[in-house]
Amino acid sequence: MPLPTGDVIGILADNLRLRKSVLPIPARVATKWTEGLGLPRGGETVLYTGMMYQLIPYIEGLVKVEQRLGDSWLARWTGFGRKVNRIINVSAFMARPSAAERASYDQIPINVVHLLRQAGVEFGALYEDDLYSGALAHDLGADAVLAEHARRVNAVFEKHGVKTVITIDPHTTNMLRSVYPKVLDNYDVEVRSYLEVLAEKDLAARHLLSGEVALHDSCVFARYEGIVQEPRKLLAAAGVTIRDPENTGRQTWCCGGPIESLYPAKAAANAAKRVEQLRAAAPDGVTMCPMCFVNLSNAAGDTMHFKDISQYLREAYTS
């Protein structure tokens, strides 16, 4: 049984309002990926993670707890849990991923740093001011909380003199590029995905890769932001043979991730259908969204192996 929908939305919205993220994690964890990279603080152009990759291992842990709670008598106490969560960050006790799990997701922004440097792009980072975008609150219709949070993010951009943001995942890209302009009056930030930035640089691969991959387009990249050709161009120039599954490009099939926080069983069933399509195309899959990566990987188990696109690109384009 799923947990009561209203209470779960309430907890997530409370977290964003009180703690700047639907699932608050310590700043030292969120910024761990920056260690040793020597990224300047702020500047006109910054790489912005929106904490998406860093949050994934925590979201995974939380969803597992949700599933266990949903099947127990404790589900009836979710409303009380929301009240307690306003005072104590309950979710911090519910999800405790290992250092190895966190490190595997931190590797994605690190890959992007190396790729952008290889392309000659100069950029900084916002460290503890690199806040979650509010994507889930937007999806769940928590409009007032989202508007308040968007103002907070924009204040960070203004504080650091940011004019251009380079994003990594589709959800942060969509929020900063297409949603914030609708909810903020004074928002003037150019937002580009690192895939768009790299694709227009016409980088030459330093190490040509081989093999076939089934490319899973993110719904948000493909249908919300029109990013379809860029990943194909980059992978093809890296020597990878792309095998498109039955639903591909602007007709891509969702991984199920957007409803994982409310209905994990439905999300998993949808991911299983998508894995069937991808597995029919190639034994290895490539994703460009952390939610897609984790949902499809969980659904596939040992039957298929997924990698984030940045891993292929870093291997091919950087020394």
């Binding site: 219709g141 409009d143 099939w253």
Partner: protein, 101 residues
């Protein structure tokens, strides 16, 4: 079967230029291609809104929140209905009227 009708529901929900449930011509493409299958039928939800059937919208809470917002339906909608934005609007409405958020 009776229904409590709120004739102003569509107007109440029309809080932005994006909300356009009235563009739906009920052709059913959205329902036919939805990855979630028969659980989610945008055309049915939008018809309830247009008819002011607020209690039916509330009764479809799980349906409204089960939508992936993946825009597969919107990509193939012949009438240009902003299905994802409309569903978000319904969520905002249910958050306020059903969950008290």
């Amino acid at each position: 079967m009776t229904a409590l009708v709120n004739p102003g529901l569509a107007t109440e929900l029309d809080r932005s230029d994006e909300f356009n449930a009235d563009a739906c011509m009920n052709c059913g493409v959205c329902s036919a291609i939805c990855p979630m299958g028969v659980d989610v039928q945008p055309r049915k939800l939008f018809r309830y809104v247009l008819l002011g059937m607020e209690d039916r919208v509330a009764a479809e809470t799980e349906t409204v929140y089960s939508c992936l917002l993946c825009k597969m339906c919107e990509e193939n909608c012949p009438s240009g209905v902003h299905i994802a934005a409309n569903v978000r609007t319904l969520r905002h409405h249910i958050n306020r009227t059903v969950f008290g958020l």
